[in-house]
Symmetry: none
Subunit: 304 residues, 5 copies
Amino acid sequence: MSLTSQVRTILDKYESDTPGTKANLVRLMNTGKLAGTGKMVILPVDQGFEHGPARSFAANPPAYDPYYHFSLAIDAGLNAFAAPVGMLEAGASHFAGQIPLILKCNSSNSLATEKNQAVTGTVSDALRLGCSAIGFTIYPGSEYCFDQMNELRELAQEAKAAGLVVIVWSYPRGPMLDKKGETAIDICAYAAHMAAECGAHIIKVKPPTDVLSLPAAKAVYEQEKIDISTMAARVRHVVQSTFAGRRIVIFSGGEHESTDALLDTVRGIHDGGGFGSIIGRNTFQRPREEALALLSTITDIFKS
Amino acid sequence: MSLTSQVRTILDKYESDTPGTKANLVRLMNTGKLAGTGKMVILPVDQGFEHGPARSFAANPPAYDPYYHFSLAIDAGLNAFAAPVGMLEAGASHFAGQIPLILKCNSSNSLATEKNQAVTGTVSDALRLGCSAIGFTIYPGSEYCFDQMNELRELAQEAKAAGLVVIVWSYPRGPMLDKKGETAIDICAYAAHMAAECGAHIIKVKPPTDVLSLPAAKAVYEQEKIDISTMAARVRHVVQSTFAGRRIVIFSGGEHESTDALLDTVRGIHDGGGFGSIIGRNTFQRPREEALALLSTITDIFKS
Amino acid sequence: MSLTSQVRTILDKYESDTPGTKANLVRLMNTGKLAGTGKMVILPVDQGFEHGPARSFAANPPAYDPYYHFSLAIDAGLNAFAAPVGMLEAGASHFAGQIPLILKCNSSNSLATEKNQAVTGTVSDALRLGCSAIGFTIYPGSEYCFDQMNELRELAQEAKAAGLVVIVWSYPRGPMLDKKGETAIDICAYAAHMAAECGAHIIKVKPPTDVLSLPAAKAVYEQEKIDISTMAARVRHVVQSTFAGRRIVIFSGGEHESTDALLDTVRGIHDGGGFGSIIGRNTFQRPREEALALLSTITDIFKS
Amino acid sequence: MSLTSQVRTILDKYESDTPGTKANLVRLMNTGKLAGTGKMVILPVDQGFEHGPARSFAANPPAYDPYYHFSLAIDAGLNAFAAPVGMLEAGASHFAGQIPLILKCNSSNSLATEKNQAVTGTVSDALRLGCSAIGFTIYPGSEYCFDQMNELRELAQEAKAAGLVVIVWSYPRGPMLDKKGETAIDICAYAAHMAAECGAHIIKVKPPTDVLSLPAAKAVYEQEKIDISTMAARVRHVVQSTFAGRRIVIFSGGEHESTDALLDTVRGIHDGGGFGSIIGRNTFQRPREEALALLSTITDIFKS
Amino acid sequence: MSLTSQVRTILDKYESDTPGTKANLVRLMNTGKLAGTGKMVILPVDQGFEHGPARSFAANPPAYDPYYHFSLAIDAGLNAFAAPVGMLEAGASHFAGQIPLILKCNSSNSLATEKNQAVTGTVSDALRLGCSAIGFTIYPGSEYCFDQMNELRELAQEAKAAGLVVIVWSYPRGPMLDKKGETAIDICAYAAHMAAECGAHIIKVKPPTDVLSLPAAKAVYEQEKIDISTMAARVRHVVQSTFAGRRIVIFSGGEHESTDALLDTVRGIHDGGGFGSIIGRNTFQRPREEALALLSTITDIFKS
């Protein structure tokens, strides 16, 4: 199957990577309903780990079963499914080869006393489970950020040599940032840029708000009249901030939104040139048929 | 000997594991009075390490001798015997091949200044001692939890490659949890889920109470009307929380109970679909004949 | 994309393999025109190495260019493309993700003084080039066979841990075998069996003739009335000899045949339950359009 | 091309280094408009990482694209381009061999809670990306300085064995130093000396002011009548402090200066025998033509 | 300095290589009088090792001194200088950075009892000496060829990861080949192809004669009417045989020729699209001025 021009254009930007990493980038881009568009929608399921099983799955009990998520991602025609090592082990053999897998290598949890994460997966795990990518979270602004970047360096170097893709979840938090600051546009763009500087192939951030958090940044945004008035404008700025679009940047679905608000966000991501969405709770916490319908609407937006 | 359908059903859920790990799972399930039922009762003896020898063994002095425990587990028809490296070395040769062994790889002690554990056993130790599994404790909620999960990752990766079973003791504690919170049903289900996400094959938790500890979880339990009214209901919820029953979850005997209370708990575990019990002090702190009688009653419950 | 029953049936036979190896087996089976049928046609191009460039490519000069072969395999809708490290490096980046690649890790050549092969590729090479499998040739009957099996053992162990598929070219030759003996049915079945015993996931042999070479074998074939009268019967016997069909066995195209003879062989392979063909010179030594037409006919046979 | 006497003189001072490191020193000195002069102007672009993308690039939006910086450094005839691993990966293949690259191995950021840096690049990264040098920042005076020096030791040892050049950014900060103290002449000279003692081949410091910060140092400067009255005198003292000129010491451009002030500083560096400038924001935050003109003026000063 | 279209075109063919290897390819192509043309002339000096010092250097005694050769290659404006580890160590520091170096990693000698080579240099040596490439000789047709290819595999894998270029001297010899056969066009093309299949970036062969050595090949050359009538035609065929020109192939100067014959050969190489010459004895066995004049003539031919 030859590549579409959209996929070829994106692939060519990963000029320093091995053919193995490029092949896995193509796998991620050429799977599911968005195959060939250069856009991607990914299902991540680490909320059980992060928030506990009942808070994550009780609203839709079939979702307690890992098979449910593999199957949802496949049937919705998504590009990939991301989860920690235990959940992947529970289904990677049955669903082998049916959808690209992303091993989420570190995870936090709601009982933790520190704003940090445990590293629970390795590159060896990713290879034996047949994954196309590893995922890793950093918390810019946290007192553990340097440690996390150091861990990321080691995993990323090993992953790149083995032909895997490196996806970084860049979630700002920490003493300098209040809740509004964590999704402020200046912080979000900065978080995406830092992940790119660390050598990420794909970067996940939260949809940015029109808040400006750091005074030094605020001054620049105002002086340079950077448009942050709409989600599309903000996404465009985040894409620009990740090496002028040379790295794929995707956006999470966000918390507690109405479906309409979620779809508005997705439209903004698409209009602003974002490369896709990574949506967990917003899908698996509703009944399967509703989730499939929602994901169908979302992939349609990215195809338009 | 071909497998019973109960054992086959459980084994098939370990789809990503090597035949070596599967063979050791079968050894654990096909030993003793519960062979073939898919249920297990395990004797763990690390209380000497954790609480000191007199507190552990003075009530029944023959129990100072490691041979006593190997022999008790074998004669009671249990599925396995778990202990730290020193106690296993004291009897593993004499009792070689008579019962599956579990090397408890980390242990705490009552003199410790931190809520942490020392790693005293390795995968090499487990192999040279003829063990079927390694055991490892994590303390979700503790400030050492991330370090423990990192240690577990390294041991588990090595153990799986060597065909061993990985059993995780998941015991919540730490600044967010008071004594009641440590066995609250939301915390217990979360602890079991985290162990599963870390890639455990078998998970050990404490029998949960009907307390709800975390406010965010409490809201969900109430809203979703999750039944936590009986031990059986709570066990059913814990089993669901460990990948909808795709991982074996077993329960400790608990502290300071009367024998009747203990048996009620065991009946609740059985009725709720739990996979078994892991019972130490409640057996070896009473005379051998009483212990054998009690264990006979317990295995009978799980056979029923 | 969920699996067809044919692919699922085959995949389930690789029960001791990691999900990674299974995912790569699915990639091999779910690519191209034969996707989902459980059959495969592979283009191998190591004839330049084995027989020299002019003997391999002069009949169709565009074939001197490695891109030609990647492109031929893709456009013909084949399942995979196999070549030594140098030829893969020449196109693996441009064609990344477009077709599964097989790194042929050892190669002989026509100037060699020994019936042996040099190991020119490694598992690291396979991973950095994005391959799904490694390929390795053994010469049962040769004085180098034990060395080759030893080399295979090391590569296969590393490949399996990294989630790759191991394909063994099993080509009997050596002092006990004359030219006719090399393709005798008893020898061919034995060669396939030895590759299976060495742990190959996929085995390539030459189409067997109705010759019986070893006297001891001949006696058994005659006594047991093993049917070797037709290509289909012989292929059925080879499939049976590779663990009763538990391993994929595919057949080379053979030398100097007419196209009709080649297609007869392919029909025999299909009728006998063979899993596919691996065809090099018979395709790239004719003009591209003719090669595409021939490959279309061959894939149609396997689809029928 | 044989060496000029200026380059030969400098090179001979690196008498304990391998030919590989010397060859890379020559590459740094023999590239661009200053080739052969023994002077160097380097473009460093890690401000996106350190201060965020908008604060760094919004004033001149084409600078969001990594290609812009490679191209600016090449077209301005500079000696080298320095950046973190992600930015180098984004252009190192396209611009391969066109300008010496420096992998900035550690980076801080404006959200950090500690005056420290994450190590995001390695010697392996430097080799695979074709770099001539690694860059590393230490903060003398910070509570992390010993950790940083320890990290530097490990990287430097590996880099020297691989024939790379080690460049140390030595930026004093910490509890003993107020803002004025960070650029005081005694502190600056001391910082340069510490980097030299750590085994740096090239040292980058900030242009020193005529402030004397440490009382003990101040007494000596006054007693010994060390001339710190002009930038040239201060630069001369810094050069003297880095092993009497046996190590290349270069100076950053400084913050928020007017162009005239910047050029005065550069003239002072040149007059004082400094080896060059490393100038980031002062160039890429103005339009490309202006930046090229400014860099032309600067290289002319160093050529004079 | 931006790349010429000739260099860019060649570089783009090394699509699977790291930026480090690409940068060293550019260094080889952008040095000396032929910089930017995509052509190269290299001085190799391992004849002392291969034939003894007097046979190599007595005709021009200054050539006993390694400095002589570094200096000759630099002053003649060649692209690179190749030698074993000892000779490089004797001058690599003094001439650091003045010309790309190639570490010849294996060498034979005239006292040897086997047609083999000793491996005297490593990738670590190449890095500490500042080399851009490693060189390695294989003897296709020799009984040591498989061992040599195995050694090459290990060195090449390490060299590629470290960003070095791999140059293979492919010199057929052995029981199947008489003296005429060693330079026969079919053998030469085959030798070049095998080096390319082994993953060489640059391949060195001897100028081929119009002899056809292997009967099986001869038949093909005659049937396909492959033009081997002139040196240019034969070179064109060798270039075609190394992946249709996707790999740089260069030619040695040959033995015992007159200067005119040598220049005719060089003209044939140039006319046939060869990428350059690698000329040792023909230059350093004559007085320096004559050698410089000859090399000037040769580089002029490749520039024309």
